[in-house]
Structure formats: structure tokens, C-alpha cells
């Protein structure tokens, strides 16, 4: 599972200092992250404005008849606006956690500060604006959001309020095409370092590397960067604070980094050990680990494993090319060649 080690997680876990910044950050974690990137903090006391990359000014923002992509936007929905100082393209953070993208326009807008007085603002030359936070920030409407999608690293954040009947997540993996009900999915995120894959965490503790395929809320997979149950989880994907906890669950690890918590489905498997063929019950497995091929010629003979049972450890070759593995209520056929290791006597909880 994903372990959150950021201040966001600290606040969420109830160990917050109790100051208003932490509470505000918890209610709108992605806005808090964006503010931090621009060297600002959320405040309940004043609105903040940063024109043209200069220092932040505290004061009060006033605006009327705001539109985003020509659609009206209520002022009291807005928590923050981040835009290039020389562009009307803006990222608008709403108080319910949504983030919208588009072209801003308004009839009239001002920022009143003790330093500058009353300054007229232009929609195509705004800079960054963070409005004072409220105790109701982060509350979604009815029906409540059951998941959140980030469609691009610097893009929109969209709540998911329901799943269409019979909709599912399709994952293209090294095991083939797998399908999961949305109720089984914990998080999805694009892998860093320019990889084209996503990693999918299932609720049972498994982690799959895959090319996911979905259509949700009119979005397709090409423009979906991450999916999570809470905005805090989404925010964690945008920081370096995610640390993969050492896997303490019994399961199967594949060479592509996937981990499948589960158990072998077959009762026995056939192994070549020395000059003999031996049928071993799968329940006797403790650990299997694939060995590097000693020479290119050895690849003719198939993969070789150190096979540890409760009785002893062997060097063995599987006689079949695949075996069955049960995970998340499904049985999957796994080629032995893509297996990194199997550990069956771990006792951790997901």
C-alpha cells in the first residue's frame, strides 16, 4: 500500500498541530500543494495575490461576472486561480475540490491591499490568486464524490460520483488483458520517469503495472494521469512523498514490478529437479526465486528457480510453461518466465 509521509498525511492522521494552515491544507490538499510550489500558504485571514512572479500581497479580492470558457462562475465557489501572468489561460481551484481549466474573463475585478491600495485586475494578466480558506472547503455536493481524477499533471481535477452500471477498468498487462470492478480499485497513477505505464493499486494490496483503459466522465485514458479515492491521495502522487512500503503480504512478484497478493490456484506443479520429475503440492511452497540463466544455452531448458519448501530448498525447473494464480477473486495464467519471485509465508496485512 502507499504510505504517505508528507505533512498532508500527518495532518490527516489527526496529529496536526491544530494551526489553521494545516487544517486548510487538509481540506484542499492539492491547492495547498500548488500554493507551496509558489511559496505561499493557505490562509483563513486574507486573500493573497501574486502578480507577475513578485511577492505575495495580502488583501481582499473583489470581482463580478466571472466566466471561465464563457460559462459563468460564481465568485464564492472559487478558492484560487493560478494563471500565467501573460495569459488568460487559468487553472481555477474550486472550494469543493474540483479544478477547472480555461480562459478567464470578467466584467470587473480588483485587489485591495494596504500596500498598493485598490488595483484593477485584468483577466489576461492576473498572475496567481489564493482566496482565504473557509471551514466548509473540501465539502463536495450531493451526491458525494467516491473518487477523484486528475486528468493531467497540471490539469483538471474531476470528482466521480457514481460508476455506470457494468463499467469496469480494463488493464493491459504482461499477463494479458484483465478487468476489474471499480470497487476493487484503490488508486491509479501514471508512473514517473517518463514511463508510458500506470500503476494500479487494488484494495487487496496488489500492485499492477499496466496500460489502463477506461472512459469515465467523458475522459479517456490518454488524458488521465491519476485516480484516487481521496484528494489527499491525489496530492501525494504529485509529490515525492510516496514511499512504497516493503511488501509484507504473501504474493507473486513479476519482473515488470507488479505484485499480486494471492495464492497458487493449482494443487500441485511439476518440477525438474536434477534428473527427476517431482510433483510438488503448492501449499508446501515457502519461497521461489528465479535465477539468472548461467549461460545463453541454458535458456533452452527454461527458467530455473530456487524453490524453498518447509522441508528443504532445491534448484528446480518448472515442467509446464505456465501456472495458475488466484488474485482478487480471479484466476490468472502466469508464464514462469516472467516470474521474479513468490513469497507465501509473509504474514503482513494489506
Amino acid at each position: 500500500m502507499i504510505l504517505l509521509t508528507s505533512e498532508l498525511a500527518t495532518a490527516e492522521s489527526g496529529k496536526a498541530k491544530g494551526d489553521h494552515e494545516s487544517k486548510a491544507a487538509t481540506r484542499l490538499p492539492i491547492l495547498s500543494l500548488e500554493a507551496k510550489r509558489h511559496h505561499a500558504e493557505l490562509s483563513e485571514v486574507a486573500d493573497q495575490w501574486q502578480p507577475d512572479g513578485h511577492s505575495w500581497l495580502s488583501g481582499e479580492w473583489q470581482a463580478s461576472l466571472i466566466k471561465l470558457n464563457d460559462a459563468p462562475l460564481q465568485t464564492d465557489w472559487i478558492a484560487a486561480i493560478f494563471s500565467s501572468a501573460k495569459s488568460s489561460q487559468a487553472r481555477v481551484f474550486l472550494r469543493d475540490g474540483r479544478v477547472l481549466l480555461g480562459t478567464l474573463s470578467w466584467k470587473d475585478a480588483h485587489f485591495v491591499s494596504p500596500i498598493l491600495g485598490r488595483v484593477k485586475l485584468k483577466a489576461d494578466h492576473l498572475g496567481h490568486l489564493i482566496l482565504r480558506s473557509r471551514s466548509t472547503d473540501g465539502s463536495t455536493g450531493k451526491p458525494p464524490a467516491i473518487a477523484w481524477i486528475l486528468d493531467h499533471p497540471q490539469g483538471r481535477i474531476i470528482p466521480v460520483t457514481s460508476f455506470a452500471e457494468k463499467s469496469a477498468l480494463i488493464c493491459h498487462t504482461t499477463l494479458g488483458t484483465l478487468t476489474f470492478a471499480w470497487s476493487e480499485i484503490e488508486t491509479i497513477r501514471a508512473l514517473p520517469k517518463g514511463k508510458s505505464e500506470h500503476e494500479i493499486h487494488l484494495k487487496n494490496g496488489s500492485r499492477l503495472v499496466a496500460w489502463p483503459q477506461w472512459k469515465l466522465s467523458g475522459l479517456s485514458t490518454e488524458t488521465c494521469f491519476a485516480w484516487a479515492r481521496t484528494p489527499t491521495q491525489l496530492a501525494a502522487f504529485l509529490t515525492e512523498t510516496i514511499q512504497e512500503t516493503p511488501q509484507s503480504l504473501p504474493g507473486l512478484r513479476l519482473k515488470d514490478g507488479s505484485f499480486l497478493h494471492g495464492a497458487p490456484f493449482d494443487e500441485t506443479t511439476l518440477w525438474q529437479i536434477e534428473n527427476s520429475e517431482i510433483q510438488l503440492p503448492c501449499k508446501t511452497w515457502v519461497q521461489l526465486k528465479q535465477m539468472a540463466a548461467p549461460s545463453p544455452d541454458a535458456s533452452f531448458l527454461g527458467p530455473t528457480f530456487t524453490l524453498k519448501t518447509e522441508a528443504q530448498t532445491w534448484i528446480a525447473r518448472p515442467r509446464q510453461e505456465t501456472f495458475s494464480w488466484r488474485c482478487a477473486g480471479q484466476n490468472w495464467l502466469v508464464p514462469w518466465t516472467i516470474v521474479e519471485s513468490i513469497d507465501l509465508k509473509q504474514t503482513g496485512n494489506p
Binding site: 499477463l175 494479458g176 508510458s196 494521469f225 520429475e277 531448458l301 508464464p335
Partner: protein, 662 residues
């Protein structure tokens, strides 16, 4: 003749070396004076005359690194030379060490906190030499930990797939950048590599290389100063170090040094055709006799007598085999089960049941023996003797995870899953499918036009084979493919001649950008760019993992540069009859190898060309100047006009403009 040949070799060797040096020295023609250099991250480097990197600045892990040692001797040079921009330092040593002349070349990589070293070892003798040397690093203080690039604490060796060493600063220097010693690429990381780490302070890597007489070999390695947050885990170490993987910098090096490098594996480029058409079977090399291996230690040479050979591949129909097609056989004594292997001269190899009416062996000088329990039988090379060059692929070969290789007909299409959807690829377009060395997800499918796609082959596939009829295969069993097209291509990584896009995970799609404009958010605002006007657009510096935002550098065909962020979620590319929607966080580089002007610009170019023949001198001059500034964008139109015009003044001006572009 025999007495003269070594002398001739020596003369040639001594001649080649100065030529190679001369090429570098034309660029590196300024004496190098050691001094502290700052890289793009603000790290300091102090490179001594002998190429060692010394401590410079207060917060550094570097004590004395990248030292090249031969026994008790350390490398030295009479005079190091550098280029005018200081990006290349060349350190020749004209005094050979044990018959090997050594040159160090150090590349300072612009925009990266990396020094790349290319060590050249030139055997100037007339005999093959085994040359031993060490690379040593002494740290400033004891490291908190020294791990592999994958985060595994190092004892005495790198395991296969590990590519370098990572030194994590101790508590006393927690602000110092970590040090990454880049030792090999993924393609070169196929075996264990010895290292010696003492007290988390001194690292030495011993090398032993064989250099044929008169030949050159290279070692390509490097050092990076990596700034990262505290709390290193295996995952973060692997992520941090992959940013500075040796593979990322090889395109800056001469191809010779890549081909002859001892530590880069197949990175140097080759379809590895020798592996598909081998002459070595289970450690036994084909020669002019048949060879019967009776175990690990016994092998007889002579003549095999084979008659009525029938092979039954995994329960399918039995195939009668012409013995002249057979290159080698391995039986149950080798496989230790009921199965046998048959390797054919065309590169196929099948696993199954072997039957023979007669299988005997007549050793040289001995009497005929029956082969009852077959270990291995390697048949002679066919006469007349042929070399690898004559050994050609006749059909595409597919290799299954079982190790079998099967010749197929390149007919029909193959459905594969890519990162951006399912695609149907004609078999006739496929050059190769191989494992992606750096990436364990999917395989890399290489197409004729230079497209390279990561694919999952897990769907069922129907294949028409040459000998085995139609096969229904589980796509997961496909491991590699090679096609005869590979033989006509020089390298794996030829740059396409058409427009293409590359991703950060080494995929490449040849095609045209379909977006009418590309919007770049620059320092001064949003700039719309026509895709045709881009010469090259690439990520300016390693992607920020946190924001996944990439800043791109654009070079334009009309001249000029632009830097900024892409204001798109995806870019659309059309190639191979498909439209690809590529998320912008996947994009590493876009290249238009040939300039192309859009319709509006072409009209303007035509007007300016017309003005070259104007009666008004000022108009002629303005048109000439404008066309000169357009450079390669106008070249095609200029050449077309040059072929048809008879106006002497126009001809003069056109010739001047065309010659200017040569």
C-alpha cells in the same frame, strides 16, 4: 614475409593512433589548465591533468575519483588539451603501458551534473594482449552507504541488471550531493561485475580486457553528482540514478567508441543477427567435421550418418527432415527429459520428439558407432565453406519463450497492444521484436520506417509458418522476432528520414503532427508554432518528477530558438494510417529532419523568388536577404526556380543562395 608482417603491423598501428589523436586535437587544441568548473546544478568539478576528479568546494563527497591505475602506476599525460568551449578534455599518453597506449577523453555534459569518460586502449603490438587496470574512487569522508544504482548495499560485486554504484553522503556532509559512478548500460549489465568497497570510503573496480593486435577498445563510464532529499529508499535511489543513466549520453559520443566499448553490450547497435544464425551450439563451434558430444568432457569428430529423421514438434504432425537442413541436434541426455532439440541451418530450432531410422557416427580413424542416447550432435558447416556474411535469413523468425524459433511467412497483420491503443501491424513492416533492456514491461517492436513501439503481445495470434503450417499461438509466448529486413539495415537506431516523435521511454513514432498549431508558454507569453516550422523540440532538462512538467527547447527551421512549456494535454500524430494521441508528459523529443514550409510561407517564398528578378535593385536585395535568412526552408523552391529560369541576374542570385545552404 612472416618477419616483415609484424613490422608492417607496428607501422600501421603507429600510423592509426596519431590519426585518431589528430582528429581530436583539431578540436581540442588548447592546453588544458586544471581549475574548478561549475555544472548546471552548481556542483563544482576539479579535473586534474591525469583525469582524476579532486575535491573542490566545501560540500562534496569527492576526494579523489576516476583515477585510472595499472598495477602501481597511475595514468598520466604529458599535456592535456581542451576545446575552446571547455566541454572536451583529451589526455593522451604516448608512453605505452605494457604495449597499450591509453588516451582519456572527458566530456563535460552541458545541462547535466555529469562527467563522461571515454578511455581508449590501443594495442600497438603485433600480438593479442590481456590488459589489466583499475578505476579507483576515494571519497572525501566515509559514505553513509554505498549501494548499487538499484539501492542494494554493495559488498563485492554488481549483479546483472545493476549498472553502477551510488554513494550516499554521511551525516557530516548531508548537504553534499550523492555520487553516482555510471559503469555500464543496461545492455552491458548482463553478468556479475567485480567491485571492491573498503570502509565505505574507497571503491575500486578491476577490469581485464583482451585487445587484439593493433586494435582499440574503449571503456565508457562516468560520474554524476546527484542532489536528492534525505531518506533514500531503494525506489528513490533507482529513480534518482536512472535520470543519469549512461544510455542517455551515448549519442554525444563517436560511434566507433560505442561499437568497440567493452561495457555497453548491444547498446552499440546491432540486430544481433549472429545470435539468430549461430555457428556455436551449446558451446560447440561448427567446423569442417561433424561433432558428437558425449557429455561435458567428451567430443568426437568424424561423420554422422543420419537416415529417416522424423521430428514431431510438441504433439503436432510428424515432419520428415532432410539431413542437409540440420545444423545440430540435442537429445534426452542433454534435456534430461523425453524431449529433443533440432536446430536447422536457416535459424529455426524446435523442441519435440526425435525419431531416426538410422543415427550413427563414424569417428575419424574409428569404426562406426550407433548413437543410442544422444547428448549433442553438431553437424559440419556445409561446403563450400561459408562465413557469417553468407548466412542469410530467408524468412522472418519468431522466438518463443520456450526457446523455439520458427520461420514464418510475412503475411497478414498482427494485432498488438500499445500504450495508446490497439494497432494492427502488417508483418511485412516488422524488422524485429526484442526485449527492452531498460524496461521490463512489454517488448520493443521495430518497424521498417523507424517506428519503435513498446507492445504487449498477450492476445492470441494466428501465424502461417514455413514448415509447420498454421499455428495458433498465445501471444504471451512470443519473445523475439527478427526479419530479413534487419540484414539490410546497418544499425538498430537509424534516425528516420521523416518526421518523428520520441518518448522518454525510448519509443518512437514516425508521423506528422496533426495539431494545426503547437502552443508554447514562454517567458513572454503564449507563442503559437506551426509543427512544420520545428526542426527539433526536446526536453530541456531532466523531467521534474514532482510536477511532470517538461520545459522544451525548440529549434526552428527558419532560425531562432524558443523555450517553454507545452500548453496541450496531448499531441496528435498521424503515422502508419493511425492517429496517435500522445500525452505531453510522455514526449521527450520531436524532430522534422527535412524542412517544410506551409502553404502560406510557400506563397511568400514564391513572391520573394520572383522579386530576385525585379527591375528595382532594392527589391532584389530585400528578397535575397529574406531568402538567405529562411535558409533550408526555401531551398527546394530555389532549386526548382534555378532549373527553369533563364534570367542571368536571377541565376546569379539563386546560385549564391543555394551555395550558401551547402
Amino acid at each position: 614475409m612472416n618477419a616483415i608482417s609484424p613490422i608492417i603491423l607496428m607501422i600501421l598501428a603507429l600510423t592509426i593512433q596519431p590519426l585518431a589523436l589528430a582528429a581530436d586535437l583539431q578540436e581540442a587544441n588548447l592546453p588544458y589548465v586544471p581549475g574548478s568548473i561549475a555544472d548546471s546544478e552548481g556542483n563544482e568539478w576539479l579535473i586534474e591533468q591525469n583525469g582524476t576528479v579532486q575535491q573542490s568546494g566545501a560540500e562534496t563527497m569527492i576526494g579523489n575519483c576516476m583515477s585510472l591505475q595499472f598495477g602501481n602506476q597511475q595514468f598520466y599525460t604529458q599535456q592535456a588539451m581542451t576545446t575552446a568551449d571547455g566541454r572536451l578534455i583529451v589526455m593522451p599518453n604516448n608512453q605505452a603501458v605494457g604495449g597499450v597506449r591509453i588516451t582519456r577523453r572527458i566530456y563535460l555534459i552541458e545541462g547535466h551534473p555529469v562527467l563522461l569518460y571515454v578511455e581508449e586502449f590501443h594495442n600497438i603490438t603485433s600480438r593479442d594482449l590481456v590488459f589489466n587496470f583499475e578505476v579507483r574512487h576515494n571519497l572525501n569522508h566515509q559514505a553513509r552507504e554505498i549501494t548499487s544504482n538499484l539501492g542494494r548495499p554493495i559488498k563485492d560485486s554488481l549483479e546483472p541488471k545493476e549498472k553502477g554504484l551510488f554513494s550516499i553522503p554521511g551525516e557530516n556532509e548531508k548537504n553534499a550531493p550523492a555520487l553516482l559512478f555510471m559503469m555500464r548500460t543496461a545492455a552491458g549489465a548482463t553478468s556479475t561485475m567485480k567491485t571492491r568497497v573498503q570502509n565505505k570510503y574507497q571503491i575500486s573496480i578491476p577490469y581485464s580486457i583482451t585487445i587484439p593486435a593493433g586494435q582499440v577498445r574503449y571503456l565508457v563510464h562516468g560520474i554524476a553528482q546527484v542532489r536528492s532529499k534525505a531518506g533514500q529508499t531503494n525506489t528513490t535511489i533507482a529513480q534518482n540514478t536512472s535520470t543519469y543513466a549512461l544510455e542517455r549520453y551515448l549519442d554525444r559520443l563517436p560511434k566507433t567508441s560505442l561499437k568497440l566499448a567493452i561495457n555497453l553490450g548491444d547498446e552499440s547497435g546491432s540486430w544481433n543477427l549472429a545470435d539468430w544464425l549461430p555457428s556455436v551450439f551449446w558451446g560447440v563451434t561448427q567446423n569442417s567435421f561433424d561433432q558428437w558430444a558425449l557429455g561435458q568432457q567428451s567430443i568426437l569428430k568424424g561423420q554422422a550418418i543420419l537416415r529417416g529423421i522424423i521430428f514431431n514438434r510438441q504433439g503436432e504432425a510428424k515432419i520428415k527432415m532432410d539431413p542437409s537442413r540440420i545444423a545440430a541436434l540435442a537429445g534426452s541426455h542433454f534435456t534430461r527429459d523425453e524431449t529433443s532439440w533440432i536446430c536447422l541451418r536457416d535459424g529455426q530450432r524446435w523442441k519435440g520428439q526425435l525419431e531416426a531410422e538410422e543415427m550413427n557416427f563414424s569417428p575419424l580413424g574409428g569404426s562406426e558407432l550407433p548413437i543410442q542416447s544422444l547428448e549433442k550432435l553438431i553437424l559440419r558447416q556445409p561446403s563450400p565453406p561459408f562465413t557469417q556474411h553468407e548466412n542469410k535469413l530467408m524468412h522472418p523468425l519468431i522466438e518463443l519463450r520456450s526457446g523455439e524459433r520458427i520461420a514464418i511467412q510475412a503475411e497478414g497483420d498482427w494485432n498488438v497492444q500499445t500504450a495508446w491503443g490497439t494497432r494492427s501491424i502488417p508483418w511485412s513492416e516488422i524488422v524485429a521484436l526484442h526485449e527492452n533492456e531498460e524496461d521490463t514491461f512489454g517488448q520493443l517492436l521495430c518497424l521498417k520506417d523507424g517506428t519503435r513501439l513498446k507492445v504487449l503481445t498477450s492476445t492470441p495470434v494466428k501465424i502461417q509458418t514455413v514448415d509447420l503450417g498454421q499455428l495458433d499461438l498465445d501471444g504471451k509466448t512470443l519473445q523475439r522476432i527478427v526479419s530479413p529486413i534487419a540484414e539490410s539495415l546497418e544499425e538498430t537506431d537509424q534516425e528516420p528520414t521523416q518526421n518523428y516523435l520520441e518518448t522518454a521511454d525510448k519509443q518512437r513514432i514516425v508521423g506528422q503532427i496533426k495539431n494545426p498549431q503547437i502552443l508554447i508558454s514562454s517567458e513572454t507569453g503564449v507563442v503559437p508554432i506551426s509543427p512544420h516550422s520545428i526542426r527539433e523540440m526536446k526536453v530541456a532538462h531532466p523531467m521534474n518528477d514532482v510536477s511532470h512538467e517538461s520545459v522544451f527547447d525548440l529549434k526552428l527551421w527558419a532560425g531562432g530558438n524558443l523555450q517553454g512549456k507545452l500548453l496541450h494535454e496531448t499531441l496528435s500524430l498521424e503515422g502508419k494510417g493511425y492517429v496517435w494521441n500522445i500525452p505531453c508528459w510522455h514526449i521527450e523529443r520531436i524532430v522534422n529532419p527535412s524542412p517544410s514550409a506551409d502553404a502560406e510561407l510557400l506563397r511568400k517564398i514564391a513572391t520573394w523568388i520572383h522579386d530576385l528578378g525585379s527591375d528595382d535593385w532594392k527589391s532584389r536585395e530585400t528578397a535575397t536577404r529574406t531568402l538567405r535568412e529562411l535558409g533550408p526552408l526555401a531551398l527546394v523552391s530555389l532549386k526548382q526556380e534555378r532549373q527553369s529560369t533563364k534570367d542571368a541576374e536571377m541565376i546569379r542570385r539563386l546560385d549564391e543562395l543555394i551555395n550558401n545552404e551547402k
